[in-house]
Symmetry: C2
Subunit: 330 residues, 2 copies
DNA sequence: ACTGAGACTGTAACCGGTTACACCGCCGGT
DNA sequence: ACCGGCGGTGTAACCGGTTACAGTCTCAGT
């Protein structure tokens, strides 16, 4: 069994209170006593137990992060943003990822209770009330990327970004612009689709429903979607995928089909993940400040933790990044 | 204040023991009582406190992960591997990253104590005894990528991988092969350098000391190293960087200098990070099973946690991945 | 009617810290 | 000589759970 504070106290001939005071510098302790305690603690290899400490102080100095899964650069960027902000405040990160449905989310949530002072939850397709119901009152929670009215969240302006990209492609002369969507259950995907639709309407583009194909944000679904588009009677001249992974899948499909991007078909993605810059042709994309997304979420949570202030709602803007794949030079 | 077990017990007219039994299914409870407890717990929005639970059970069901920093795809891959393995065992991950020196490492270590059942530590340039000294006896620790004799660790065979790559380049006819090293303080970097040197000696290649340039694993240091090599009187015909980031930096430098890769100079990296495949020309690299590295470390830790068995030492093999940048086709 | 085995439930000690409160001794001020 | 204040220390209650142990009740077996 591990060495406890009582062991140190007994060995050094003092009370636990004094040992505690030494380790927290939370009260006056005579220099001689202090040294003796420090020394016997070292000899015994005593390290204070964080769990026990958390229990009494009712603070854990860690923020929990729940992500839908860890695949893709998007999530690693989020994690980096989160970790950076957490560290800057001298807190710690408790990471958990969830793959399947509400039950697992709930399970993850419950194991986090008591272990964290606040929570950042990214769960594009699970309702916020499920989260609330399984958390004690008063635990600050910030949603990531899901715009639930009345709930603290940090989101990105998916709709504006998608509209901007669509308008950009239209500006290059494209009239038949396809959209590879990200799935009906996903809030981000829905917002991007809405932005695309709005821009199509505003610019009076071809609104053929066949131009919208469903994917699921994976590279292979992008590949499949591209194939579906290639079989259309009248091909689109531009394809706008709801994320970069699908765009890269589509790129592969086009290349395999002997088509040149951007000469034969223009291509654009969303997210601007790091690889976007490295593929050939370099991928035109909508930059989302992923890193900042995570950082901002953490700051919102920690503000709520420390000030007790209510967490608020933030929307981060996106930015068009024009590279080669859309045919606009760059 | 949050709702506790006593609140539920009082409200439901039972004792805390019974409530505990309901939530852990750890004893017989009458169906009526059970329902009543569950219901009042729901109404009160009671969620058990993980910290308190950990304290008595002396188990946290989480493994701690300490990484030197979170930058680069290498670390995100490690995290993914770790998280996957942790989840598979229904544990949780407590993540912490450290940037500067031993003090911070120690601080991070100490805050993890009591919060985790085991620890995966990746710290290429900090001595293992520092870690040991600041952890209670009996806490399983597995080192990642650092081969400290007598200490549980999961490492990759850096030396063999580097030697294999160097030999491969030699096999393509190169006699002057440069190496962009990763810094003297880093164990991985040292092992890779050693592998390179061994292969150079074995193949009787040009062992000009000027061919070894120091970098620090960042893209910009690779760029700088490439510039240094370009200024040599007699240029190398191949450059082998100790990681992919530096190789990509070098690629940029060569391109800026008007050199064609691989026609004018062959290039190879180490790690085989995901982007390696996407850069043009696609980067020849030494594949290291990063994902598996993390996963294996977790399994080693958890085996030690559960069986109480002593954690052991594993070395994972690397694999040569020939793509375009070395001029061997692909 | 009596007994023993279970099923069910409660009491209280404990996990390893923190901290309010009390106590002691010593000092300077009046 | 007396008192208030303060540095230094100890005692014990508490944080929110778990669990050993003991008790009660019911019911089948004899």
């Amino acid at each position: 069994m591990a060495v406890t504070m009582r062991d140190v106290a007994r060995q050094a001939g003092v009370s636990v209170a004094t040992v505690s005071r030494v380790f927290n510098e939370s009260g006056p302790v005579g220099e001689r006593t202090r040294q003796r305690i420090l020394q016997t603690a070292g000899a015994l290899r005593y390290v204070p137990n964080g769990t026990a400490r958390s229990l009494t102080t009712n603070t854990t100095e860690t923020v929990g992060v729940l992500l839908p899964n860890l695949y893709g650069e998007f999530y690693s960027e989020v994690i980096r943003g989160v970790e950076g902000a957490v560290r800057a405040r001298r807190y710690h990160t408790l990471l958990s990822s969830v793959h399947d449905g509400p039950e697992e989310l709930v399970a993850a949530l419950r194991t986090l209770v008591g272990r964290v002072d606040g929570l950042v939850v990214m769960s594009p397709d699970i309702a916020a009330d499920v989260i609330e119901a399984n958390l004690p009152e008063g635990l600050p929670v910030v949603l990531l990327g899901a715009a639930v009215p009345g709930h603290a969240a940090v989101t990105i302006d998916n709709e504006a970004g998608a509209a901007e990209m669509t308008a950009h492609l239209a500006g290059l002369g494209h009239r038949r612009i396809a959209h590879v969507a990200g799935g009906a259950g996903n809030a981000d995907a829905q917002a991007r689709l809405a932005g695309y639709r709005r821009a199509v309407a505003e610019a009076g583009l071809d609104a053929d429903p066949a131009l919208v194909v469903d994917g699921d944000f994976t590279e292979s679904s992008g590949w499949a979607a591209a194939h579906a588009l290639l079989e259309l009677g009248e091909r689109p001249t531009a394809v706008f995928a709801a994320n970069d992974s699908m765009a890269i899948g589509a790129l592969r499909a086009f290349r395999e089909a002997g088509l040149d991007v951007p000469a034969d078909v223009a291509l654009a993605g969303f997210d601007d993940i790091p690889v976007a810059e490295y593929v050939t042709p370099a991928l035109t994309s909508v930059h989302v400040p992923i890193h900042e997304l995570g950082a901002r979420a953490v700051e919102t949570v920690l503000d709520a933790v420390l000030d007790g202030s209510d967490a608020r709602f933030t929307t981060l803007p996106t930015r068009l990044v024009v590279r080669e794949s859309c045919g606009a030079g760059g």
